[in-house]
């Protein structure tokens, strides 16, 4: 093992190339080869072309990554925020326990007629050795019955953990049987933790499940002139509530949100909307794609993180409808809201301007939050996703060239066809063309890298070692990641903002959210506490002669 050069004394001169070389030389050859394709020095060329990054590939064992598993992506992320489904984890107790209320998805059950809310509960079959040996279907069946008897929910979902797949329990057969017996919707997810390479596989499986078992079951056309779905917004810290508030001001009707503050009834009715708006492209683009094919609903990528991004997204929606009444109303809302935003922004700007940030999180937030940092004059030095794919980095234009490996092939791609009864093109091809020409891009996400500066470091599935070295060599003013990284980074004297849980704050979406975030970042990068780390006697350890009292 070579000794690592200490470059920390002259951080100004650490080029991304040097950083990359430094990192790779610590790794065994095989690891270094792989990581070299996942650590990319950004350069944006013509047509927003960027270098190719290796993403959505296996994490090397022993490397200490941020990633979780397929179950976490399915049960935790996508289905976790659905309040009126009894979500039963089929497996030993741990998985259900760890995904119990830990993601901060807020919900308002009083918005539903039945006021059901099972999100505060954890349901598990708590598999024991006996079931591992003799099979767990019997216990699962009974657990579903007991859940039904106790709670009378309108839907029950089953989530498979690792051993379920290995012992061959057929959760889908049990679900069908119990659906028949109980007369409510019961459906299963084969989201065993070992599937795929990260949470991402779980998102896909969740999307497939909701699409198959729920979407399109209720054809009632609700009221509203502008009826939209918001996809990939999970209402962490109340983000979805803020977006709902803005939509309401604009006169836009939200048919469903996948899946923050959601009800299964809204999913069932989602296919009646005019357009799908995508927040987190990574976790939910499958549903959008499938809904377009089956029902003819086009989708647009939006971003409600940052006031400018929010305004831009609202204008896109207005442009989509192309009606003056909506356009004017949206402009009025933006103008009304921006006043307060600008006031706070101007107040913090002097203290945040020129500071630096690094973002390693999720599959969309590492991108979205660069916008809001930019609004307060902060520069992103480095960023990367925990479980993004190449299209999240380089844009969907690279989709045709993405090689599907064995891990991704194991996740079923649903064969979707037009629904003869329900398919309805929302716009004519001519209208779509005209909108595209005017900048409303359909089925398009341009990715994170084209929006990042040249010479910034883009790192996929960052490891603990790389995190430590980034901190040491670049000393950013703030680092954004998750709970596992939080105190590693802070012990290094750098504040860490959690962008999964928001450090129990928020909302950060929309206009109110932007204000909250500006203030929070101002607090964090200017906190006095960091200046107290060294005690007076450490700052000036030399005795200058004699004792003070002599």
């Amino acid at each position: 093992m070579e000794t690592v050069v200490d470059l920390s004394t002259d951080t100004e001169k650490v080029s991304p190339e040097t950083f990359k070389k430094e990192i790779l030389k610590q790794y065994p050859a095989k690891v270094a080869r792989k990581r070299s394709k996942q650590i990319i020095i950004n350069s944006v060329g013509e047509d927003k072309c960027t270098p190719e990054i290796l993403a959505n590939v296996r994490t090397v064992p022993g490397i200490i990554s941020q990633r979780g598993c397929c179950y976490a992506g399915c049960k935790g992320v996508v289905l976790g925020p659905t309040r009126d489904i009894v979500n039963i984890t089929h497996g030993p107790i741990g998985c259900g326990f760890y995904s119990w209320l830990t993601r901060r998805n807020q919900t308002d059950p009083d918005q539903s007629k039945d006021k059901h809310n099972f999100m505060t509960y954890c349901f598990s079959t708590d598999m024991q050795e006996e079931e591992i040996i003799f099979g767990g279907e019997k216990k699962l069946r009974l657990a579903i019955q007991e859940a039904y008897d106790l709670f009378k929910p309108k839907a029950i979902a089953i989530f498979s953990t690792c051993p379920v797949g290995l012992i061959g329990d057929d959760v889908h057969a049990v679900a069908r049987e119990m659906k028949e017996k109980l007369g409510i919707n019961v459906f299963g997810f084969s989201c065993e933790g070992y599937k795929g390479v990260s949470q991402s596989a779980g998102h896909h499986i969740a999307n497939n499940g909701i699409f198959t078992h729920v979407i399109g079951k209720d054809d009632t056309i609700g009221e509203g002139d502008y009826r939209i779905n918001l996809l990939g917004e999970y209402n962490i810290g109340g983000d979805a509530f803020e977006i709902e508030r803005i939509f309401e001001l604009c006169g836009i009707t939200l048919v469903s949100t996948f899946s923050g503050n959601s009800s299964i009834d809204q999913f069932a009715n989602a296919h009646t909307a005019d357009v799908n708006l995508i927040m987190c492209h990574r976790s939910i683009n499958y549903v959008a794609e499938m809904m377009e094919k089956k029902f003819g609903i086009p989708w647009i990528k939006v971003n409600f993180i940052g006031a400018e991004s929010t305004a831009k997204s609202l204008r896109k929606i207005a442009q989509y409808y192309g009606e003056d009444a909506l356009i004017d109303r949206v402009e009025k809302v933006i103008a009304d809201e921006l006043g307060a935003v600008e006031a706070v922004k101007n107040e913090v700007y002097a203290r945040t301007q020129g500071k630096t940030a690094m973002l390693f999180v999720g599959g969309s937030r590492a991108h979205h939050y660069q916008d809001i940092f930019h609004e307060i004059g902060m520069k992103t030095l480095s960023a990367g996703y925990e479980f993004g794919h190449r299209d999240d980095y380089e844009g969907r234009k690279v989709l045709p060239s993405i090689k599907v490996d064995a891990d991704s092939r194991n996740i079923t791609e649903l064969e979707v066809e037009q629904d003869e009864k329900r398919f309805r093109p929302r716009k004519s091809p001519e209208e779509m063309d005209a909108l595209t020409k005017n900048g409303v891009l359909f089925s398009e996400y341009e990715g994170m890298m084209p929006e990042m500066e040249n010479e910034t470091l883009v790192i996929d599935d960052i490891s603990h070692y790389e995190t430590e070295r980034l901190l040491e060599l670049y000393k950013p003013d703030i680092f954004c990641a998750g709970i596992k990284e939080k105190y590693v980074v802070q012990k290094s004297g750098v504040p860490l903002k959690q962008l999964h849980s928001y450090d129990y704050g928020g909302p950060y979406a929309g206009f109110t959210g932007a204000i909250n975030f500006y203030k929070e970042i101002d607090r964090m990068v200017n906190s006095k506490v960091w200046s107290y780390i060294k005690a007076p006697w450490e700052k000036n350890p030399v005795l200058s002669g004699g004792y003070a009292w002599e």
């Binding site: 790794y27 065994p28 994490t59 090397v60 064992p61 022993g62 990633r67 979780g68 598993c69 976490a72 039963i88 030993p92 107790i93 741990g94 998985c95 760890y98 995904s99 119990w100 209320l101 830990t102 059950p109 809310n117 099972f118 505060t120 509960y121 954890c122 349901f123 598990s124 079959t125 708590d126 598999m127 024991q128 050795e129 591992i132 216990k139 009974l142 657990a143 007991e146 008897d149 106790l150 709670f151 690792c162 051993p163 290995l166 933790g193 070992y194 390479v197 990260s198 064995a406 891990d407 194991n410 070692y465 998750g482 596992k484 105190y487 590693v488 980074v489 802070q490 012990k491 780390i533």
Partner: protein
Amino acid sequence: MLLRHTSEEIATRSALTINPAKTCQPIGAMYAALGIHSCLPHSHGSQGCYSYHRSTLTRHYKEPVMAATSSFTEGSSVFGGQANLVQAITNIFTIYNPDVIAVHTTCLSETIGDDIPQIVSKARDSGAVPEGKYVIHTNTPSYVGSHVTGFANMTKAMVDYFSGKNGKKDKTVNIIPGYVEPSDMQEIKRLTSMMGIKTILFPDTSNVLNGPQTGRYKMFPKGGVTVDALKMTGSSMGTIALGLLTSGPAARALDSKCKVPCEILNMPIGLTGTDIFIDTLRQVAGVTVPDAINVERGQMIDIITDMHQYFYGKKVALAGDPDQLVSLVEFLVSLDMQPVHIVTGTPGKQFEKKIKELTEHLPCNVNVFAGSDMFMLHQLIKNEPVDLIIGNTYCKYIARDEDIPLLRFGFPILDRVGHSYFPTVGYRGGIRLLEKMLDLLLDRKDRDSSEIEFELVM
């Protein structure tokens, strides 16, 4: 209401667990392994396990929690995780260079049947384990026992792998503290050092999971029992194991492996528990109890006599882990309080028997359930309300719905700090528990008193 679907009527359930009062073995093993100096816990399973465990431990301690994983994929789940573990060991020693890798299994690798010692020896043969470095392991199938079992298993692995005899007996006492906070481990060391007893405490997470802010991150902090110390445990004159479930297996293993006799005691939480601990220490080490400890004990009793009127007859509901609950119940009974509902998720009939013994003279009915859950606890409370709930953070949903004060105790505490800095063991820990309980009860009295009955002096 947060738990709006929980009804008063208790129906028998045989398959569905609702709101568990336990979690799985591996997280306990991970926590125990962090109590070895320069040790990286390793989870042999898919990534989700270590990610969940690290997240939960981090939320509880607000400290870095480092661990690695074998990152199983579908392929390794079919063909076995040997290649993954060998690769992980190579990478960990090359990149992170700990002294010890402590491997625990998961439901995935247990169901497949991976043979960890065989894989580790394969790794060793291939040169992946550098000279002077160690890979230890324990089996922690998630579908057996609970996080408590995992902690006990990893603690026992420390004995299995390291304890040896050096031919003579040292005047050292081994102390196995059980699944307690770093602050508790620190407090036990303070007490034994006040008594002038040389000890080896294992595992020891103090200074690992309650470390200072120095501006310099260290992947392997100063704390933790060293491998050298663990090796010496076989030469100690005896072992005091605190907690039957969490410390018993390691103590007994040390006895049978190295003929080190052991005393298995309840955790020193509360007056009686601490008295027995101190008295046992005194006798096995042949020392006298210093006056400073007598003063601490006296202060604790003083508070009890001063404030007894507020504790007397108060009904308490508890959820947590068996070893802690036994000592807590004993403590509450000693205060003339009434622990009426006691629930643990960890299975074991012995626990129920023990609690029944401790509470048999109480003038009230006592419900005790092992292998149960918090849904049951909530239903019990709905049937018979209590004055105080003692349990982890999840109890706050019950506490708010039922408008009952909550004393946060146990694992995990996700929404408060302090538990990793201030002990609940020993007399000082007892004083802290008394203060916390009293604050809760009197704050409630202040809130609920009419303006006429509102008291200045209490």
